[in-house]
Symmetry: C2
Subunit: 210 residues, 2 copies
DNA sequence: TGTACATCAGTGAACGCGCGTTCACTGATGTAC
DNA sequence: TGTACATCAGTGAACGCGCGTTCACTGATGTAC
């Protein structure tokens, strides 16, 4: 039995990671098997020793976020015992609508990156997408000041604003309007949903300093 | 001079209309020249008597919305003299976040449909997209109770919620969660931004009746 | 410890298909007489 | 009013390229002796 199981699963993980980064940046259709194998330091043909199809690696990439970064985010959000609930929600929103998250397309949340790929993708991808969004909603739900149906509703629309705001900002040119949308969403998410003022965002701080 | 100018521009308009519908439904990459020409009752080759490239017809389709339906929407929104400002904003939000608008992908707002195609498209498309979004923001801005910077900020985040909420709802399976997002966005847009309760939406009315 | 062997991850050429685009041709239509 | 003509929108076959997938082959690696 040449090549240990360890080796194979390591390589597979490397491919998934390349795939995740590239799909995130360019979307499903605009990434080729060649590209993602090259990014993983391999060549075209070897791909099919690990995955049955391009669609399969897309599903794996989505799932990998769900169980990797996504899970970490989820865990961290529930962790700090000194912070109040609304404090936690506020941190989540600030991190989601941060300038970094708008800029760094490689590591962004797949809810943003895959939004329009998902309807055409297979059931596994759709399931992952749904699961991830539900996770986000639950997380908000648990950390809002409201309870019951009111909390659920706010959690849903807050998720829509966070994810949707980023999708829209991405579609706009980088000349100010995108940032304007992001900052407006951040401020209103804070004041309208969480009932508190957002601390000045990085972009706003720089504007004041100037 | 065979075929009148009229004839040529009629046919061109028919192609643009087919393109708009198909691009709206399937996105730029998943519509073929064959399909859109067939939809217009023509064949492949004739396309290039009207447009230089696929990208060109995409730009034309985007612009056609801007000058057609988009302009109508804009005009209507400013028209009813008996309605107050906030009343107008409320109507706009209700129409944008309506169940019909979620379902009828052919006639939806291109801000939703093209969100992820735009960053990869040419400058004309990007310009149209930006212009359309700015139009929406101005429209909200002019109809909110606030004034100045506060109004602009609310207009921006309201646009993000409307467009983004629809994009996200589209990406979710049609089994309830998509509707839940839409209705939550609608209700919170009404209560948090406009300071009023939304009348019961069609879906909610049906739920109550059952 | 060293060597022959079997396995299978990885290689890169090749296949096949879809689709944007081109092109030689056709035929419908407006104009000139 | 009718007919020959010129134009060019429209046709559909063909081209060319990109890319997902396949396949015969290679060679690295673990195992058996």
């Amino acid at each position: 039995m040449p090549y240990s199981k360890q080796h194979k699963s390591d390589v597979r993980a490397r491919i998934v990671e390349s795939a995740r980064r590239l799909f995130n940046r360019h979307g499903f259709d605009h990434v080729t098997i060649d590209q993602l194998m090259a990014e993983a330091g391999l060549t075209r043909g070897g791909f099919y020793a690990h995955f049955r199809s391009k669609e399969a690696v897309f599903a794996a990439a989505t799932a990998s976020f769900l169980n990797g970064r996504g899970a970490i985010w989820r865990d961290e959000a529930g962790v700090d015992p000194t912070a109040g609930q609304v404090e936690m929600a506020q941190r989540m929103v600030e991190s989601y609508l941060s300038r970094d998250h708008l800029t760094q397309t490689e590591d962004q949340c797949p809810l943003i990156a895959y939004a329009t790929d998902v309807p055409r993708a297979g059931p596994k991808v759709q399931e992952s997408y749904r699961e991830l969004l539900e996770g986000m909603v639950s997380l908000f739900d648990a950390n809002l000041a409201e309870t019951g149906a009111a909390s659920r509703q706010k959690a849903l629309s807050l998720a829509a604003l966070c994810v949707g705001g980023m999708v829209v900002a991405r579609a706009l040119p980088n000349d100010g309007i995108a940032e304007e949308i992001r900052v407006a969403a951040l401020n209103d998410a804070s004041s309208l949903w969480l009932g508190k003022d957002a601390p000045l965002d990085q972009t706003q701080q720089e504007a004041q300093a100037a």
